[in-house]
Every structure is written in C-alpha cells, then in structure tokens.
Amino acid sequence: MSAASEHHPDLPPPRRQLGVLGWLRRNLFSTWYNSLLTLLAGYLLVRYAIPVINWALVEARFAGADASACDTEGACWLFVRERLGFFIYGFYPEALRWRVNIVFVLLAAAFAPQLIERFPGRRWLGLFGLTAFPVIALVLIRGGVLGLEAVPTADWGGLMLTLVLAYGGIFAALPVGTVLALGRRSDMPVIRGLSVVFIEVWRAVPLITVLFMASVMLPLFLPEGVNFDKLLRALIGIIMFQSAYMAEVVRGGLQAIPRGQYEAADALGLGYWRKMGLVILPQALKLVIPGIVNTFISLFKDTSLVLIIGLFDLLGTVQATIIDPAWSDVATEGYVFVAAVFWVFCFGLSRYSQDLERKLDTGHRER
C-alpha cells in the first residue's frame, strides 16, 4: 500500500471557459448588458460595414479599358488608377517626371529609416534630409540650372505640391518658431515686443484669410508688372502662420524647464546662445515633441487649403477631375483616395513622434 504521493494532475477548466466559446463568454457576453452591447455592435457592423466592404472591394472595378468598365454599383477605383499620374504630379511634364521620382526616393530614403531602430547610418540620413535634401529637391523639381529644363511652379501639382508645401512649412516653421519663442521670452523690450506682435497677429487670423490675402490682395499692392510666384506667396503665408503656432508650443517647453537649469548654465559661464543651444532648448524641445508633431500634422492637412487660391494640391487635382463628364459619379472614390493618402502621411508622422518620445525619454515623466 503506498500513499498517493503523486500530485493529481490539474483538471482542465470547465469546457465553457475554454477555446472560442470561453473567449466569447469572457469578453463579449460576461454580463447581460455586455451581451446587449455585443449584439448591438454586431448588428451595426453587419448593417453598415458589409455594404461598405461590398462597395469598396467586392463590387469595385480596379481594371478596365475606360469609364464604361465601371458599370457596377461598387466603387470605381479604375478612375483613381487612370488619373493617378495627375494626382501625383499635377501638370508636371510627363517626360520630366523622373526628376520628381528621384526626389520621392530621396525623401523616403532620408526619413523612412528614422522609424527603424538600429538602421545603419540613420542619423546621417536624417541630417541629409534636413540639409542637402531640400536643395537637391528644389534643383531637381524646379530645374533651370545644371542643364535641367526649367518647370514653372504653375505646373507643379498633386501630391508633389502637397509635399513641397508641407516640407517647406515644417522645415522653416520649426526654426522660425523657436527663434520667436526665444524672442518672446527675451529681456530686450524691442525684440520681445516684435515677437509678441508677430505671434499674436498671425495666430489671430485664419489661414484661409492669409492665403486669400496672399493670392488676391498682395498682387494689387505690388507695382504693375511685378509678380511674385503664387506658390511662393502661399508658402510664405503658411510658414508665417505655422511659425506663430510653433513659437507658442516651444515657449511652453521653455517655461517648463526649472529655473535651476538656467541658473546652472549661467553659473557655468555660458553665454546666451550656448546656454539656450546646449542646455535649455534640447530639454525644452524634447518636452514638447507631441505639441510640435501636432502642429506638423495640422500643417500637413492645412496645405489642402491652397485649393482656394487655385493651386492644384492633391485635393485640388482630385476635385478638378471628379467633374469629368466622361465618368459617372466618382466623387466618393476621389475623396476616399485623398483621405487615405493624408491618413498614411499623418499616421507616419504620429508614429515617428511616439518613437522619438520613447527614445529621448530620460525619466522626466512619471510612468
């Protein structure tokens, strides 16, 4: 006779808590009101998601010879496909589009690796993206030098124009905004006054007004025969507007830095610029990354407002083509396409900012 020294194996949990059934029970039908909500959500999903999927994928037309191929109830993605060149490049001459393609590739090469930790030479690529890239991009897109055929800005359009405006705006708004923020906190009354006036004036007018003034009023003030490039006018307007916002974001960061940091920098004998550049700004900018990226994202989306001054950005090219009588009603397809493109870019920006926050986190935040 031996004692039952062996441990009795655990019984499996009751059947109703295992597998799919158990998961459903735990997560979807745990109480009567959760069951009710599940049923309601399920009903809404079936009622609305299925027709959308049906429209967007099942009955959609992706290929075909011409507009007559879109004879179903579904989406006519063929339209987007046919006009994709126009949506991306606008009126940019077809033979020269390779130049824009190079710019796209360089842009992707400089910034896409930033999302991948441990990518070799990532920092250098980033530095390239902020220094040499804009110059190369401008030369390639605009031409007129180095034997490249010049392409007037009036021919720029589509996604390319959206990216030019967004990149130009982001690229200039951050440094200008930082300078303005420092100016606003300066001890010198004239500089402080100018910064405050600039920020408050630009922040107090809507961007649409700024663009409108730039395109409709400004030419009337200039002497006859003198014309500023319309794109440049719009870009300057966007930069001014966004740098005012950026200044306030950066100022928030500056104010969050404890006084001790300023005093410590002073005690080390650092001058103003070195104090700001080496001690204060690196900490302040890091604190306000979410705010900065927020401003960038809103800037990116605001670029579509140039539509009202007759520039063909991505949204403009789509709006100009959905009225084509050769196609039946393709407005929904066009707008969905624009929304998807904007989402991809903004989502990318947002992911990058989260990544950056994690990496630069040195324990200031409570976890």
Binding site: G85, L138, S215, E224, G225, N227, A320, I322, D324, D329
Partner: protein, 343 residues
C-alpha cells in the same frame, strides 16, 4: 550649429524661389510682352466640364481653353504656346489686373459692373448661357411655371440663388430652397430625391445630368431665367491687345459663317470670295492693322478650327455634354452668334 545650418538652407530656398519672381517691363504692350515671353498666359476655370477641364494626361481642354489656343495660334502659329493658369472665381479679376495673366477666359459673365468698375474689357461672347432647371421626368412637369411649391437645389453664394428668388417672386410662386456648397452635392441631393428641381446655368445642368445613374430620366426645362453671356476679358488700357482678342473671336465666328474650317482652310486661301481672302490673309493687310501676321486668320482656323468645330468638340454633339447650338447658333440660323465683317 545644425539648427543654424538648416535655418540658412531654408533661407536659401526662399531666396531661390524669390528669384523666380518675374519683373515684366511695364511700358511694353501686352503683345510685345507675350511675344518676348514666347507664350500666352491664359486664366481659366480650374474645372468646368466642356469649358476648361483637364484630361487624363493633365492637358487642358474645353471651349474657353480653345479660345486661348486660338489666340496663341494667331500670334505664334502654334496653339501649344499657351500656359493655363487655373483661377478661382474670386481671384480671376485680380489676376488679370495685376498682369499675372494676359487674357481671362474663364466662363465670366459680362455685366455692367464688371465692365465699368473692375478695370477690364470684355471682348465679346463665346457662349450665351442662362440659368435653367433640371427635373426628373417622373415629376411630369413641362414648364418652370408648374414648379410652385417645389424644393429647389441651388449652389450657395452665387447669382444663381438671387435669380431663382427673383424668378419665383415675379411669377408669384412658392419654393423651398435647398442650399448646397458645391455642384457634387447638388447632383447627389437631386439624385437622392432631396429636391425636385436643380437649378444652375444650362450648360452645367447638362454636365451634371450625365453624372446621374440614369441620365435619360431627367430633363432640362425650356425656360431660361437669366442672361449669362460668357466671354474673354482683358485689362483696360491696351487697345491693340483688346482688338486682337476681339478679332480672334470674330474670326472664329466669321469662319463658320463663310464655311471655312480646319479641313478646307488650305484650299479656301485661293477662294474667289474676297471676304474669305481678306480673312485668311490672301489679300489685304488685315493682320498688319492688328499687329499680327497677315495670315493670322489661316493660323487660327488651321490649328483650332472655326467656332462650330470648337463648339462641337467641347460642348456639342461630339462631347459628353451634347448641348444643342440653341442661341449659340449663327445669326443666319436663328441664333445670336454674329461677328462684324472683316474688311
């Protein structure tokens, strides 16, 4: 340091773009400026089916666009030497006044206020438009007079809205306006049955009608409740340029009247008819008087065709719009198209 570098680079970008700001000699005539530039700059609508719209390759096409091509053909003997600047309704006159464009060909209605107080001159009418009504055939309405009590889809902030109110008040009828922001929305609302009637310029009603799933189930009523003569405009103060634009239009119309088109223009140069010979430059010095080459008429017809061809191609039978000539027929056919003689 890095920040400084990027700041400097961005300043460089701005400076480079600023260098592209063009300074045209102010004392030169428009014609001289255009010739020197080697290109005509023409302001058009950013998207209006049949008048100015872009095709799949991003090329401009339409009635307003073809008029600019005719001007370019007269000056350069090349209809491609024209750059199109898409303009919004609000920008169009500023762009013309500031010299950003040479000619405005953007479905612009010729009105007294615009002609007299905006510093522009209208060079004639390329298309006689007018506001009309689109209804579903199932409504069983044959005249706008039967529309009392109807819900009407109309675009916000346009003269269309005012004309509509005037028309219904004048005829003692009631209506419910459904005001919408853009033309996509008007046709969607009409299709969904949110309104019984859609009102807009007649040329646009047809463009919208063919967007319906069943275009034949809707029709445009015969009543036209406003006058919208659309035509090209130029800056005041340069009469030679004004004359060139006017006579480009008159040449298109005269060519149709005289039976000269892009196919027979080469033979017609030797025609016996002295009027045709003058128009095509085989005799006389008509071109010289305008500051153009003698054969400017031949150039226009050869490259762009006469008015009938332009109409047919862009808004008429050969286009999706399939608009009848109607009031836009020649005066000899009972329409309003009438051009002064070339002599």
């Amino acid at each position: 340091m890095k920040r400084l570098v990027s700041l400097l680079t961005s300043l460089g970008v701005v400076a480079a773009l600023a260098a592209s700001a063009t300074v045209a000699a102010a004392d030169n005539s428009t014609l001289a400026t255009v010739k020197e530039r080697g290109q005509l700059i023409c302001g058009v609508n950013s998207g209006l089916p049949g008048f100015s719209a872009t095709d799949a390759d991003g090329n401009w096409a339409g009635l307003d666009v073809d008029f600019c091509r005719a001007v370019a053909a007269a000056i350069f003997d090349d209809p491609q030497k024209v750059r199109f600047v898409p303009l919004t309704a609000k920008e169009r006159f500023t762009a013309l006044q500031s010299g950003e464009i040479d000619v405005l060909s953007r479905n612009t209605t010729w009105t007294l206020t615009r002609d007299a107080s905006l510093g522009v001159n209208f060079a004639g009418t390329t298309y006689y438009d007018g506001q009309g009504f689109l209804v579903k055939k199932s409504l069983g309405v044959d005249s706008a007079r039967q529309l009392s009590g109807a819900t009407v889809c109309v675009l916000a902030g346009t003269t269309t809205e005012l004309n509509l109110a005037d028309y219904f008040r004048k005829n003692g009828m009631e209506y419910n306006p459904l005001v919408l922001e853009n033309s996509d929305q008007t046709i969607s609302a009409f299709n969904a049955g949110r309104c019984d009637v859609l009102t807009s310029d007649q040329s646009q009603l047809n463009a919208l009608r063919i967007k319906l799933p069943e275009p034949s189930a809707a029709k445009v009523l015969p009543e036209v409740i406003s006058k919208e003569p659309l035509g090209p405009a130029v800056r005041q103060g340069d009469d030679q340029w004004y004359d060139i634009i006017k006579w480009t239009l008159f040449t298109l119309i005269n060519a149709e009247e005289l039976g000269v088109n892009s196919n027979n223009v080469a033979d017609m140069q030797d025609a016996d008819n002295p009027t045709i010979r003058r128009m095509l430059g085989s005799s006389g010095d008509m071109g010289e008087k305008l500051g153009l080459p003698a054969d400017f008429g031949t150039r226009i017809i050869k490259h762009v065709g006469n008015y009938a061809e332009i109409y047919r191609r862009n808004v008429g039978a050969d286009s999706p719009l399939e608009l009848e000539r109607g009031v836009n027929a020649l005066w000899t056919d009972g329409g309003l198209m009438y051009a002064p003689p070339i002599r």
